[in-house]
């Protein structure tokens, strides 16, 4: 029962976090492209495609996690994958000494520089996403 409630809690937190994270990126794809480019990890030919598609993948998975019971686990696993990739990108750039904005929740270069805190935050989100993925698809939590 505890696992179910933990899973429900994690699902809502992760769903809302990714909803919030996707919106500024959907509104300003040019800024999103620059934020991705500044990681200097993707081949240049893929930067714009990632800027166009990533926010929609975040939004679709977040909506499915919150509102489509049959797709909950798939959505949570997809978000786990995204979080793992984002965390690896931040860790790599920190290792390379690149000082850039995260581009995680805001695309303003002056906000949210990458650092140990962004790694810690992502690790926590990854844990929550994994917990959200534990819930059996399509089942409501037991009443207390």
């Amino acid at each position: 029962m505890t696992t179910r409630w933990l899973s429900l809690f994690s699902r809502w937190i992760i769903g809302l976090v990714f909803l919030a994270a996707s919106l500024p990126k959907l509104v300003a794809p040019q800024d999103m492209a620059l934020a991705i480019f500044r990681y200097h990890l993707l081949p240049h030919g893929l930067v714009n495609a990632a800027a166009i598609l990533l926010p929609w993948i975040e939004l679709t998975a977040a909506v499915a996690l919150l509102l489509a019971p049959a797709y909950r686990r798939a959505a949570a696993l997809l978000l786990c994958g995204l979080l793992a990739a984002f965390t690896a990108a931040i860790a790599l750039d920190l290792h390379r000494g690149i000082d850039i904005a995260c581009g995680c929740f805001s695309l303003k270069p002056e906000l949210g520089r990458i650092g140990a805190l962004s790694l810690l935050r992502n690790a926590l989100l990854l844990l929550l996403a994994a917990l959200a993925a534990l819930a059996p698809a399509g089942k409501k939590p037991c009443p207390p």
């Binding site: 040019q30 240049h44 030919g45 930067v47 166009i52 797709y71 303003k108 270069p109 520089r113």
Partner: protein
């Protein structure tokens, strides 16, 4: 297997939505951008280190690294980063030769221009390195990014 198919379905829906909205958007983003010629790509190819706002903030607070404004002098007078010195790219060879801007060869230097689509900052960084300055960085966001971050500007009205 079912889970994989569901994940694939979510990705396909997202791809369709992304492509459709981007196509309908007035200032749509091309699927392939010309990032190869972007000033930051050129800087990295030339092994010029890139500085972010944290480094610039340190330069403004402490004077190290030394901030060099590569824009024309009139632009510098209209507003520049605090503590920055004017070293317009076009005049830099004469100014350095005439010691108008005294700099030590091993001093940490940080060049910038207006924003991330100008290249005087990069050109100045390359020129400085060519002239034997060994510790040169570029702030690619320039004055625009500094201002956007709420940074104070010296000079101007």
């Amino acid at each position: 297997m079912k889970l994989m198919l569901q994940m694939l379905a979510l990705i396909l829906v997202a791809t369709g939505l992304g492509a459709a909205v981007n196509a309908a958007r007035p200032g749509r983003l091309p699927w392939r951008g010309d990032w190869d010629r972007h000033v930051e790509t050129r800087a990295l190819q030339q092994h010029i280190r890139l500085a972010g706002l944290n480094t610039v903030q340190r330069a403004v607070n402490t004077g190290a690294p030394v901030l060099l404004d590569a824009r024309p002098a009139a632009d510098f007078r209209a507003g520049h980063l605090p503590r920055a010195q004017s070293l317009p790219f076009e005049l830099a060879p004469e100014m350095l030769a005439g010691m108008q801007v005294p700099l030590a060869r091993n001093q940490a230097l940080l060049t910038y221009c207006a924003r991330n689509d100008c290249d005087e900052g990069l050109e100045l960084a390359l020129l400085l390195r060519q002239q034997g300055y060994t510790n040169v960085m570029l702030f690619p966001g320039g004055l625009h990014e500094w201002r956007a971050g709420g940074g104070a500007v010296e000079g101007g009205l």
